[in-house]
């Protein structure tokens, strides 16, 4: 039980997918200008990533490995994730058109979000079982959503700051992301303690 907790906590904080593993920076920088859209993007990614981890585990475990074609893993995972993203896009388009418009280019981007491919691959590399894979995927995406939302909170406030012209926009966002990453280094070693 505690080991599952450690999987989640480790994925959310200690090995945060964005700030420590430096995966998924594109949506992190792109969809963090406003809190509302960040929440939406976080939710969409959480959905896709958790589902993607589960599905990819099943496909890997029951099709690829038995068939002896585990060299197709990357290819197969990409296809699966792309399909899940498409479904998510359709659902969002139905339920929240504005979110759809706002997430516009980023939703398909989830497909190429390296975090979404990276986490299922890490699952395989770390020999996670199905539950661990799901928890790891969920934890990672929660970690992603968490820092995305917090980052959006900071950026909304930075909107009013008297930032020197050359640093306005993405530049100061990068500096901020760096400092957040620095702060998250404080969690280093926590997952080693037993």
């Amino acid at each position: 039980m505690t080991s599952y907790l450690f999987v989640i906590l480790g994925a959310v904080l200690v090995n945060n997918v964005v700030l420590v593993r430096i995966l998924g920076l594109c949506p992190f920088m792109g969809v963090s200008k406003k809190l509302d859209t960040a929440v939406g993007m976080g939710a969409a990614t959480t959905f896709v990533l958790t589902l993607g981890c589960g599905t990819s585990y099943l496909v890997d475990h029951y099709i690829l490995v038995p068939a002896g074609v585990d060299y197709l893993r990357t290819l197969a995972f990409i296809v699966i994730i792309a399909a899940i993203v498409q479904v998510t896009e359709l659902v969002i388009q139905k339920t929240s058109p504005v979110l759809h418009q706002v997430l516009g280019i980023y939703l398909p981007l989830i497909t190429t979000n390296c975090a979404v491919l990276g986490i299922p691959l890490l699952n395989v590399a770390l020999h996670h079982d199905l539950l661990e894979s799901l928890l790891f995927g969920f934890g990672s995406s929660v970690g992603f959503s968490l820092v995305l939302v917090l980052f959006a909170g900071i950026r909304e406030r930075l909107d009013g700051a008297d930032i020197p012209a050359p640093f306005k926009g993405t530049a100061i966002a990068m500096v901020t992301a760096g400092l957040m990453s620095l702060a998250f280094m404080g969690f280093a070693g926590l997952d080693k303690y037993h």
């Binding site: 909170g153 930032i163 100061i172 620095l182 280093a188």
Partner: protein
């Protein structure tokens, strides 16, 4: 054009900052008394570096220099850096840290009032990540005379490993960890027994606890002057005491006592001077309680389970990240919209 109100209370940013600096004096005095005058040199180095960095950035940005250099906010940052860095840190370490704090963490965000992160704590984290060894060498109280300290600060060669050790916090944690292992000769010893060594005083590190007491006095004065409110210090100390107390009462052989945690490291400095920085900290009453309590728990977690000797700097930065959301969600109800 000037519109109403036409009268103002005589108050200024400068006087606020000046009072914060004055409140640091008791702590600094205790520091000098127990650890020697080297800290004064560090304070001077950091102050000069901070002013120089600020002046350069203001010049580049075309902002009025006289106005912003005299607001004393850079000096406050500089002093906090000097007080959290080891007193024998080489001069370039202090200078680099201060410049990073002032130039990147403060001025790039627009200077005074606009930085989301605490500059001094960001500098501490940057330096401890970059130079973990140099940032972990602390002399014990009365161990080094002024001349040696000057040599260490300005001298090139450093062979201080022999004469300095880790902070009491770090030392106790290491001892507790080895006490937990059956192979160690310390096995089975409790925190109280481990604190028997010369590095420890009544509650925390020898001398260090008196410095903390000095900060406490200065901090109480700040509350009395209404520069800071009671919320952050009370919530921080309360939450740190509670968290440490809980684990200590569960397993007294594995964890240090809550009073040790309060009296050691940067706890008092953090509670009264670092977390209370209004720019990067929470501002609503409930937000302050949440912010400080969160910082206390994180500080404890990093101290007890993490890889760094003290958690206050990382905890501050982590809570800084949360501040916009905390402030947004803890707005007090406005006039006429309260639920009685």
């Amino acid at each position: 054009m000037i519109n109403s109100p036409y009268i103002r209370k005589p108050a200024s940013v400068q006087s606020v900052m000046l009072q914060v600096l004055l409140a640091l004096v008791p702590g600094i005095a205790a520091y000098v008394w127990f650890f020697g005058a080297g800290i004064l040199v560090q304070l001077a180095i950091a102050s000069v570096a901070a002013l120089a960095g600020e002046a350069a950035m203001l010049a580049i940005r075309g902002k009025p220099k006289a106005l912003f250099l005299t607001d004393l906010s850079a000096i406050v940052t500089a002093w906090l850096i000097a007080l959290t860095f080891p007193p024998i840190a080489p001069w370039w370490l202090t200078v680099t840290g201060t410049l990073l704090a002032v130039v990147i963490v403060k001025q790039l965000y627009g200077g005074l009032g606009q930085n989301p992160f605490n500059p001094a704590m960001a500098a501490f984290c940057l330096m401890i990540v970059a130079y973990p060894a140099l940032m972990s060498q602390w002399p014990a109280a009365g161990q080094l005379d002024f001349k040696t300290q000057i040599e260490l600060i300005f001298g090139g060669a450093r062979h201080v490993d022999a004469i300095t050790g880790a902070t009491p916090l770090d030392a106790l944690r290491t001892a507790l960890r080895s006490a937990a292992s059956p192979d160690s000769e310390l096995h089975g010893l409790r925190a109280a027994q481990l604190m028997d060594g010369p590095a420890f005083g009544l509650l925390g590190g020898k001398g260090g606890e008196w410095v903390a007491f000095g900060y406490l006095l200065g901090g109480l004065w700040l509350i009395q002057r209404r520069i800071i409110t009671w919320h952050i210090p009370a919530a921080f100390c309360g939450a740190l005491f509670a968290t440490a107390g809980l684990l200590w009462s569960l397993r007294p052989e594995g964890f240090a006592s809550p009073l040790f945690h309060l009296a050691s490291g940067g706890a008092m400095l953090g509670a009264f001077f670092i977390l209370t920085d209004p720019v990067s900290g929470a501002t609503t009453a409930r937000g302050k309680l949440l912010f400080a309590a969160g910082a206390a728990v994180l500080t404890y977690v990093i101290r007890a389970f993490g890889a760094y000797p003290d958690g206050i700097a990382f905890a501050t930065l982590l809570m800084n990240i949360l501040v916009p959301i905390i402030d947004m969600k803890t707005q007090a109800p406005v006039f006429g919209h309260k639920k009685d």
